[in-house]
């Protein structure tokens, strides 16, 4: 008889091998925290300040039950408000906490979702794309250690943000239980989007693709919950943003809701992990397509290249802003109905100089469009700076291309993009308003109002170019300027700043069309400031060393 010898299993059992692929996570985690510490601090301060300032302002605005009831009446059954604010939990017996949540919760969820997306994309795809991870992986660390350390660092960031926001609420005199619930719901939403991004990083093979996919999911999540909150509450449950809202902070807290977020986040991370095991380093599940072998006839100048580089992101902004603008337009109609049974608002309107509530609402929508267009402009201006520090300006400037042509080309393209985004958003809003009101004239007047708005985002864009040219290492401060400009009105009120501080924001100067009449002087003034900023940026680029790194 022959003996059948079975081959002994390898000494490393599957569990130890699994542990091996995590080896080194701890050390890489500490490294990630060190590299991210500035970002963690910025996000924490920014988010906590946003909530804290709003809390303080609400505390000052609503002091009696009557005022709170009036607020609840205005917002509860108004689709426009629900789209921006959510279903309004706790507004049947409104407390200041419920009002605070109604005002800031959705936007804070969006903010932490963006935080989760950006940080996770950086920790997974970007590391892989830049081959930094290659260096790390060549050291004795496990295959998943880098990404795991990155995701852990995102979790820590979200926890710090959540705790800071909770403290901000308590500090402003709001209840502890609601603050804890809000903090937990923020961590949950952020982690779900971190997991979504981790999955997207397996699908796309580039950082840009990863961010794009994840941000599209965020956009869809916002729309889904907006539609659900207005018309069919069950539908909202398809949106991760709703899982945060469903915690009902400062209403009747539901402590089971964060479990949904946690389960989905863990599930997403598990899927990402599985897929990461089945693909090559640096590859994505979507295979790259063969590209052109020769350049098209128009890709022959620095400005054409700039147009090509800014094209993709600009299309993204145009689509996003247009969708949002259309929303504002469609619901503007309801703003009018609301007026009928709200005398308080009628008083408020008297202060606006006799404009209709619809027009006031449309003007507010355009302000949001303008702020988003400024976001497009700032990020595009910083893209020029990134081109320089990645060394991609060198081959252009080593050809017969002057610095003025290079930087000026970027400026022209980006300013055109900013105007396009603003006008597209305004046009979509006008279209939405025309459809819902059955009044075709809205298209023209809202679009024109958008055109008048455009110089304000152009000023912020110009400021970003001025920084990128004259103080390249500080260029990211342009984002701070944008946040300040967006919140200056509110900040000036809460902190009691003098009028000139408020006037620093270019958005204070654009005529609030269509609610206010057109005025030429401030618009011309903004154009001059934007042009001066761009010229300062050009002068900076011409004067200094072009630094790589």
């Amino acid at each position: 008889m022959t003996t059948v010898t079975t081959i002994a299993p390898p000494p490393a059992s599957s569990t130890t091998r699994a542990r091996g692929s995590w080896h080194g996570t701890g050390r890489l985690f500490r490294l990630a925290l060190r590299l991210d510490r500035t970002r963690i601090v910025m996000w924490t301060i920014g988010t906590a300040a946003l909530v804290g300032v709003s809390a303080t302002s609400i505390d000052g605005l609503y002091t009696t039950d009557a005022e709170r009831l009036a607020y609840a009446q205005i917002t509860r059954d108004n689709a426009a408000m629900i789209i921006q604010a959510g279903p309004g939990y706790g507004l049947d017996r409104p407390t200041n906490g419920a009002i605070l949540m109604n005002e800031v919760a959705v936007w804070t969820f969006v903010l932490v979702a963006i935080l989760g997306i950006m940080a996770t994309a950086r920790a997974t795809r970007l590391d892989e794309e830049t081959a930094r991870a290659e260096l790390v992986r060549s050291a004795p660390v496990g295959r998943h250690a880098g990404a795991a350390a990155g995701v852990l660092s995102v979790l820590v960031t979200l926890l710090v943000v959540g705790i800071a926001v909770a403290f901000a609420c308590v500090g402003a005199g709001f209840g502890v239980v609601g603050a804890v619930a809000f903090g937990i719901s923020l961590v949950g939403v952020g982690m779900v989007f971190a997991a979504i991004t981790a999955v997207a990083a397996q699908v796309a093979s580039t950082t840009r693709g990863t961010r794009g996919l994840a941000l599209s999911v965020l956009g869809a999540a916002f729309v889904v919950r907006a539609v659900g909150d207005v018309s069919a509450p069950w539908f909202s449950w398809l949106s991760p943003i709703h899982w945060g809202q469903a915690v009902r902070a400062y209403a009747d807290e539901r402590w089971a809701a964060p479990v949904v977020s946690a389960a989905v986040a863990l599930g997403g991370l598990a899927v990402a992990l599985r897929w990461a095991d089945h693909r090559d380093f640096g590859a994505g599940l979507l295979p790259p397509r063969p590209a052109r072998a020769t350049a098209s006839r128009w890709l022959t100048s620095p400005i054409a290249l700039a147009a090509r580089l800014h094209r993709g992101p600009t299309i993204g902004w145009v689509v996003g802003v247009a969708v949002l603008g259309a929303f504002y337009g469609v619901v503007a109609d309801q703003a009018e109905e609301m007026l009928a049974d709200n005398p308080e608002l009628a008083d408020f309107l008297a202060g606006l100089g006799g404009a209709s509530i619809t027009d006031a609402f449309l003007a507010t929508g355009l302000l949001v469009v303008g702020l988003l267009a400024a976001g497009c402009g700032v990020s595009a201006a910083l893209r020029m700076r990134a081109e320089e520090s990645a060394g991609r300006a060198d081959p252009l400037l080593a050809a017969p291309v002057s610095r003025t042509t290079w930087a000026g080309g970027h400026q022209l393209v980006v300013l055109a993009a900013v105007v396009t985004v603003t006008v597209a958003g305004a046009f979509a809003q006008g279209l939405g308003a025309a459809v819902s009101m059955g009044d075709a004239r809205q298209v023209g007047r809202v679009t024109v109002a958008g055109l008048v708005m455009a110089p304000a985002p152009a000023v912020l864009t110009g400021f970003a170019f001025a920084l990128a040219g004259a103080a390249p290492r500080r260029a990211a401060l342009a984002w701070a300027a944008l946040v300040l400009a967006a919140s200056m009105g509110l900040l000036a009120e809460v902190l009691g700043l003098p009028g000139w501080a408020r006037d620093l924001s270019p958005f204070q100067h654009v005529p609030a069309m269509p609610a206010a009449p057109f005025r030429l002087a401030p618009v011309l003034g903004l154009i001059v400031v934007a042009a001066a900023c761009c010229l300062a940026g050009l002068a900076g680029v011409r004067r200094r060393d072009l630094a790589v790194g």
Binding site: P290, R292, A293, A295, L299, T300, L305, A398, D545
Partner: protein, 305 residues
């Protein structure tokens, strides 16, 4: 014959970044039609020099003349006449290699299609791939093809072959020799000594932002000690005490020593007095030559001069 035209002329050029001194009084001369090797240890200032020549960095002090102009002031005009290949090529991730080559070509005022396609073929480059998916060597090839397809009269090459395989390296060398035959000028920064030996007419060695040696390879060799191995009838006397003779080793009747050219006569006199049986002279290898100039000894020597 008239004096050769200077294509690049640097005198006492200085450049610092904060407290880091990158160029510390650099002199450099490149004449028309030559392939000039630009050598030095890591961090010596080669890339900074080339970026100053491109007008990407502004010199703090000194004179720089490039093709008869000032690289900072006349950047655009001068760049019509030169092409550049960096050692670490960063390309636009969204463009294909072919698109990048065409774009850079058309910026320089058009590209010779036949030459471009020929080079793409010779370098075995797939122009249809997105730049983000190229390997390092292939990124390098994109920049090389873009530069070599131009009709620039001056090529500034900063470690252009880093990442190329030996086959591509030899294609590159052929291309540079063709350029030289056409009368173009090349400034080639490189760490690959075989490449330098094959291509360069003259070399400049820099260290810590200063030129420490300049000349043809033959001249540099002459300046460096050769090694001599002699067999004599009697032990050689007094060799070690001659100025310019070093590393004297005696093994029985065989003596091995190094000697400067200036000390050779005296050294051979001492050897002859001992009755020469055989003599073997060995010029320094390229590696020895450069190690001497890169190492710390060279710095103190250069400072003494």
């Amino acid at each position: 014959m008239d004096v050769q035209e200077q294509v690049i002329r640097l005198r006492g050029v200085r450049k610092s970044f904060g407290s880091t001194v990158a160029l510390d009084g650099l002199d450099l001369d490149v004449s028309r039609g030559e392939v000039h090797g630009f050598l030095g240890p890591n961090g010596a200032g080669k890339s900074v020099t080339i970026r100053v020549l491109l007008g990407l960095l502004r010199r703090d002090a000194g004179e720089v003349e490039l093709l008869g102009g000032d690289p900072w002031r006349d950047a655009v005009e001068l760049h019509r006449r030169l092409a550049y290949v960096p050692g670490d090529v960063s390309l636009w991730p969204g463009l294909s290699g072919g698109e990048v080559i065409d774009l850079l070509g058309s910026l320089r005022g058009g590209i010779d299609r036949r030459r471009r396609d020929d080079l793409v073929e010779r370098f075995e480059l797939d122009p249809r791939k997105k730049a983000a998916t190229y390997s390092k060597g292939n990124r390098q090839k994109v920049a090389l093809v873009a530069a070599l397809a131009s009709d620039a009269e001056l090529l500034l090459l900063d470690e252009p072959t880093s990442g190329l395989d030996p086959l591509m390296e030899s294609v590159f060398q052929d291309c540079v020799l063709e350029m030289k035959a056409e009368g173009r000028t090349v400034l080639l920064s490189s760490h690959i000594l075989a490449e330098v030996e094959k291509l360069c007419d003259r070399v400049t060695i820099i260290r810590r932002g200063r030129a420490v040696e300049q000349g043809t390879l033959a001249e540099l060799r002459r300046m460096t000690r050769s090694t001599y191995r002699v067999e004599t009838e009697r032990p050689v006397d007094g060799l070690a005490s001659i100025d310019g003779v070093a590393a004297v080793h005696v093994e029985g009747r065989t003596t091995v020593f190094e000697a400067d050219d200036a000390a050779l006569d005296a050294a051979l006199g001492a050897v002859r007095a001992a009755g020469v049986r055989s003599l073997l002279a060995q010029p320094p290898t390229l590696e020895e030559l450069f190690l001497r100039h890169y190492g710390d000894a060279a710095a103190t020597e250069a400072d003494r001069r």
